[in-house]
């Protein structure tokens, strides 16, 4: 791979133009609904330049900064999951005709998406979902198609929020693998790392100069500063066994008293992958669509077996979520299901903090 390059800040539009010229639809952070969300952009003007976010448990606000950086915030309510694993998918259709029923598989029109601004924890989340959807005997072909079609431009975080704990989950803040290009925003431009031959093909025609030692030092300083800003920690030592040996701890009751079972944590989680499939008939019953929608282990119906819920209280559903995410995910997929992005903490309407609950249930300090 080529050595790091430098993209002067004034030339960022050229990178975007290059992606658009190659036929990519560019998805990036942008301001909407008083939040930094992921949406299609047409120009670098659409990026939240000069904005940052403020996060606490159950609290999120955007506010202007005193600088004009493009990426001076962390992750918001959306994740890239909504593009790779869309919330509503049409899987198949059955049509009744003179010859009886015919069945067709539906697949969404493949789009070439370029994700601009993917953070290290989000790269880790994509890798986790790759394992869920692509490994093993049953491959989710829709996910596979969308994932292979997407071009990933990572951005190294220049700040950390009080809800970030990527350093505990070994998922950030530094982007190491899983990108085509990675940017680090310095005072006068982007320090660019090339992570794939596709990335090389995209960046080549921009004829960028190699990054200087000074650029490299500035980037290293920025990584160190961001790491020092990460204040939340989760003790992951033997976490699987610590949780699984505390399944009847009284603290589960305490969190169940506060938990709304509203599904927000699972919806914003970039690795949660549960869905349900239902058949939706037309009024005249000649067409039946099979739809797949995001679902959640917090929904009572989701826990139904033979029509009867097996986790018939909030306590058991919260415990299922937390132990799956942090413990039994290891049994199932050989790794943790948490990347430490902090979304479940920020977007919980009553500010339940996963790290605090883990510490309460099975002791935090080793």
């Amino acid at each position: 791979m080529t050595s790091p390059l430098f993209l002067p800040v004034a030339e960022l539009p050229k990178l975007l133009a290059r992606l658009l010229e190659l036929g990519y639809k560019v998805i990036a952070p942008t301001i909407d609904q008083e939040a930094i969300v992921y949406s299609e952009i047409q120009s670098v003007e659409d990026l939240p330049r000069g904005w940052t976010d403020e996060q606490e448990p159950g609290h999120y606000r955007i506010k202007p900064t005193s600088n004009d950086r493009y990426f001076d915030y962390v992750v918001g309510p959306h994740s890239w999951k909504k593009y790779l694993f869309p919330p509503l998918q049409l899987i198949s259709r059955a049509i009744s005709g003179e010859e009886g029923w015919t069945f067709e598989t539906c697949s969404d029109a493949p789009e070439q998406l370029a994700f601009l601004g993917v953070r290290a924890c989000e790269l880790a989340a994509m890798k986790i979902q790759d394992r869920v959807f692509l490994d093993g005997a049953y491959v989710d072909t829709g996910y596979q198609r969308r994932r292979e079609g997407s071009f990933v431009i990572a951005v190294n975080c220049s700040v950390a929020s009080p809800n970030c704990f990527c350093t505990s989950m070994n998922s950030g803040p530094r982007c190491k693998t899983g990108f085509d290009l990675a940017l680090t925003e310095l005072d006068d431009g982007m320090f660019v790392e090339v992570g794939s031959s596709r990335g090389q093909d995209v960046i080549e025609p921009l004829s960028l100069h190699a990054a200087t030692t000074q650029h490299l030092n500035s980037a290293e300083n920025l990584y160190a500063r961001t790491v020092s800003q990460v204040s939340k920690h989760l003790n992951t030592d033997d976490l699987r066994n610590r949780l699984m040996s505390n399944l009847n701890d009284g603290k589960w009751d305490s969190v169940a008293e506060r938990c709304l079972s509203c599904t927000n944590c699972t919806m914003v989680c970039p690795t949660c992958f549960c869905s349900h499939v239902s058949e939706v008939p037309s009024l005249d019953e000649t067409v039946v669509e099979r739809q797949r929608k995001w679902d959640s282990c917090f929904n009572l119906e989701f826990t139904a077996v033979h029509g009867t819920p097996v986790r018939n209280d909030v306590r058991s559903r919260y415990r299922q979520w937390l132990t799956h995410k942090l413990a039994t995910w290891h049994d199932q997929f050989g790794e943790s299901g948490c990347v430490g992005c902090g979304r479940c903490i920020t977007w919980c309407p009553v500010g339940i903090d996963l790290t605090v609950e883990v510490n309460a249930i099975c002791g935090g300090e080793s």
């Binding site: 159950g58 919330p87 509203c262 019953e285 977007w347 309407p349 009553v350």
Partner: protein, 261 residues
Amino acid sequence: MSNKLRLGVFKFASCDGCQLSLLNAEDELLALAEKLEIAHFLEASSIIGAGPFDVSLVEGSISTEADLQRIKDVRRLSKTLITIGACATSGGIQALRNGASYEEFVRAVYPSPEFIHSLETATPISQHVPVDFELRGCPVNTKQLVQILVDHLHGRRIRVPNHSVCRDCKLSGTVCVTVARGLPCLGPVTQAGCGAICPEFTRGCYGCYGPAHQSNPSSLMAWLSGHQHPVEQLVPLLQNFNAAAPAFSNAAKELQEGARR
């Protein structure tokens, strides 16, 4: 004799909005009418068909002595009885008088209270007769209403999702108005069905569909009242169309008692 299923639509104490939700099904009504004989539906037709009915939709709460008898008649004439809307399911906005002074309410609202002959409470249909299915909403969602009728026609079990409004906000990409703007919202404790309309228009949820499954409004209220939302704002939020739904009325009571302490 036609072999179509016979449908009756009945109204008790209510605003007629849920019946309008059926009339609003403009694209589906004709197709529905091919399968269902709409035998009794005063909002739509002055032809009054006699019972019995295969399916009856019942709107409104029980608010008068006459209602008490009439709902028993409707039940007796109906093979399947489905209630539609918040009034029929939890009592509706008129249930605000439950637990308050009926006399004071009547005097405050009517210029000639002597003509008013109501019960002291407005109560859900299920408190008086067995109900086969309760469709929530104020008003009910036309799509859900048509769907349950079609499901019933084809012998499928009638069901609608009972999860929170939050899931629907998240599916449509709507950013949480409580977390990102500090607005009080009942979405986390309210059953979905409306399509999460209010948050999409920067309003907190008003709880039109009543409490979600195993909902926890006490926790939400404790959080909101601890974050600069006064009890005077939160109690009225709970006391809307589903004021008498136990989960909501208990949470309102807790808030009021907490404020008194």
